[in-house]
Amino acid sequence: MNWKTFLALLARDAHVARRSFVQLLLQTFLQPMLFVFIFGRVMVSSGYMRPEYKSLLLPGIMAISMIFTGVWAVAMPLIAEFQFTHEIEDRLLAPIENHWLAIEKVCFGAAQAVVSGLAVIPAAWLLLRPGVDLNLHSPVMFAGVTLLVALLSASGGLALGCSVGQTQIGLMFSMVLTPMIFFGCVYYPWSALASFPILQKVVLVNPLVYASEGLRGALVPQFPHLPVIVVFLGLVIFDALLLIVGLRQFHRKAVT
């Protein structure tokens, strides 16, 4: 492992992200904030939703922002750089084992996901207040869940970015990410699926469920949520799985 090279690769990604800061900001915040505004504000103040929904919604919005940011930050550049521009070739020739480049991408994507997750909380809180009842009872658990969710998003980005062809980007969103969001317990707690017992079991293969439920347990424990141990187990298993798949796919792309 060559730290100098690793840090230079991180510096390059940070430099590029800084250059496209406004674009990143819009990409990260626009959709969640619109959602928060419509469902948390419009629907609640018009009486179609109960006021508690504001608090229930916030962890889900945080999860979805993190997942989107991480997947986007890792997958989109990889798809473009391996298939359109080939600009990754220069970094594949840097004096470091190829898998460290993939790990660097995951670290950077995860960092971006953490930033977006942490920034969404105050932004959503400002948009929703008053009536948001956050209860950060265990900062350690919150930090643990946040880091695992960030890693989940970036590893997922690596796996997708190295598996999806340039012509399938649209398909990736409509076939993978959209169902994941709707069946990811983002807008409702997992317990709300109780009247659909089969669906309730099936959605457990969706890693986003553990992300939203975990953040719900860390931020608004007054609502029903999956037990902490299940959340951690689910996140660790999916993190490992996606990272392994991602690294394998990366290697297949990097060397012919």
Binding site: N2, K4, T5, A8, L9, A11, R12, H15, V16, R19, S20, T85, H86, E87, I88, E89, D90, R91, L92, L93, A94, P95, I96, E97, N98, A254, V255, T256
Partner: protein, 334 residues
Amino acid sequence: MLPAIRTRELRKVFTSAPPLAAGGGFAVRRKKDQPAREIVALDGLSLDVRTGEIFGLLGPNGAGKSTTVGILTTRVRPTNGQAWIGDYDVWAQQVEVKRLIGVVAQRPNLDFSLTAREILLFHGAYFGIDSRTRSTRADELLDRFKLSDRANQMVRGFSGGMMQRLSIARAMMHDPQVLFLDEPSAGLDPQTRLLLWEIIREYNQSGKTILLTTHNMEEADALCQRLAIIDHGRNIALGTPAELKASVPGGFLLRLRFATHSPELLERLKTLTGVTEVRAQNDGVDVYADRGGSLVSEIANITAAASVELSDVHISEPSLENLFLHHTGRSLRE
């Protein structure tokens, strides 16, 4: 001293479309249930490139040049055989190898998210060069490659020639011992090509080894100290450009085109003074000889006597093109 680059019996079989520029003219499509169609890109290639020389790989598209460069630069995994850069096994000791080499790929792969100067600076940083050295060296290279006035612009808007110059500058940024240039002057205007040749020679004079691929005869002749002619993944001839040209029988090649020809005509052509070899082709005859133009009238007499109408005569002087034709029966440009 160990050779800078060694390969032993390198073989590469692609089961899907070859990547990068290694694709050449290939196009692979496979239907379900059909076994993968195999393309042999390299078929037992052994090479020794000496330290400090400019070595050329010459061959037509799809000959295996880019695959060779791909394997030597850690980007393509050989199916069989081994390759070394200096002491290091390319496949087993990739990081050590990457430290020693600089690579210019056939198609541009510049970092579009950065400016020209940043591309050089970050490349230097990947190789652990300190920031002051990085900055000085980037400025020197930008100046040398006549890119200083565009240094702080994003490369997205650069012309093909500018991108190619910057790619080469980037490959030289960490001062590699071995520089790989895959078709370096493709798409460059003549003036830039001359600048590039000058820079390559200069870099070589500082003791560096350079391996370049080309299908341009003039470039191979002007630049390379030794050449390997590659076709169908095999090394078909090796030597200095002069040695290789001298190895073509006679040196001159006269390509005669006519509708029909007979064995008697071929025999009579062989008896002409200076003719060393006569080869029948589909639409005519290739005559290898040690003289060119002075043979034409005698050939015309023989064909007229045989009532054969000559439709075309093309004379080429001793060249690598003739050498390639002689070994493969095909033109390099085909």
